[in-house]
Amino acid sequence: MEINDENLFSISIVIIIGLIFISIVRVIYVIYQTGKPLHSKSQKPMSTLIVLGSGGHTAEMINVLSALQKDRFMPRVYVAAATDNMSLQKASVLEDSLVDMNGGKVVSAKFMQIYRSREVGQSYITSIGTTLIAIAHALWLMIKIRPQVILCNGPGTCVPLCVIAFLFKVVGIRWSSVFYVESIARVKRLSLSGLLLYKLKIADQFYVQWAQLQRKYPRAHYVGSLM
């Protein structure tokens, strides 16, 4: 019995170490592959998640969307903070204009709201609880959407969604490409969400709108102003 127990113990240790090793290798592989262009020259449309910030962020994102080919990026799902009513309204105006352009043909677009982890002025103690709820909600949304393409441009709302997308890549649920456009308001330094997604290599491609920012963050692409 003792020998059996010992065997069982050592076997389970080996298995656990093995699993840890495999997941580390997998994480390194995912980080290595992130930022590498997709090889498949597929012409199939890709399901796209668009994370709308607020105010100026949303205006910039709408500009990006109007330059993208809608038949390639579909179905589209828009996500905005639950406290932000304007952003989804603006997105639905854009989608409505597409319906008109297609001669009344309904384009598949969905609009969803997400809880924010912390509202302006909320205390840090209560924000632990709300952050947990926000993460759970983000996970639930991502399981439902499983997008192939994620477009975001800050602020904080997009970070949990992008981190979950990264975990999906590691686990093998969905391989997605994350594109982050830093706001035009950021001239000298990246925003906190931008910095996180850049440093942790979660964003596949990172765009900045000022040349001096690109010099500071060499992996970023300078794309000129969107506004």
Binding site: K41, N63, A67, F179, A185, V187, R189, W210
Partner: protein, 210 residues
Amino acid sequence: MSHRLPLCRVDRETHKAWLCQRLICEYNLCIKKMGEIEDSENRRMVFVTVGTTLFDALVRAVDTKEFKQELFRKGYTHLLIQMGRGFYTPTKSEAEDGSVAVDYFTFSSSIADHLRSASLVISHAGSGSIFETLRLGKPLIVVVNEDLMDNHQSELAEELAERKHLYCARPRTLHRTIADMDLASLLPYPAGDATPVAKLINRFLGFPDD
């Protein structure tokens, strides 16, 4: 048949009267419109906007005597203040010789109309407000809110000021900016373009270039 004629006459009479009245009406309207056009030609409005923010330092700064005097000296006739969530209410006044007319409101759904009818815009440093004004080609002074903790927004205003698209000021120095500004030296802001981003995204995903 016999009763048709008198009815007709009555009809004709009322019609005549109605026509007369309409003519008078249109004439009056015309006179009024001409007056308005003349008015708007002489009217040079300065529009101050704080968006949805609380920026009493700016509202206070544009409510000072020296600021209004400076505006009048520069040939402006009206000052319209959108004060947002601010608590400080500026003093309303009619146009008199030697001063500008002052009016204010908190929020409005027709900010775009006010921007369009303004000869000069003084705005908080929010990017939405800045680019909306620049796109309309209006001269713009951005006033940075020094009370904000994380004040990255001054970066944008300062950068655009360096490129001569607008003037950047602080509440305390605003009247001096008005005095020293030379609107002819401002350069028009070129419209933004999202095609470089779209091209890079497409290329990354393996979609062919158009």
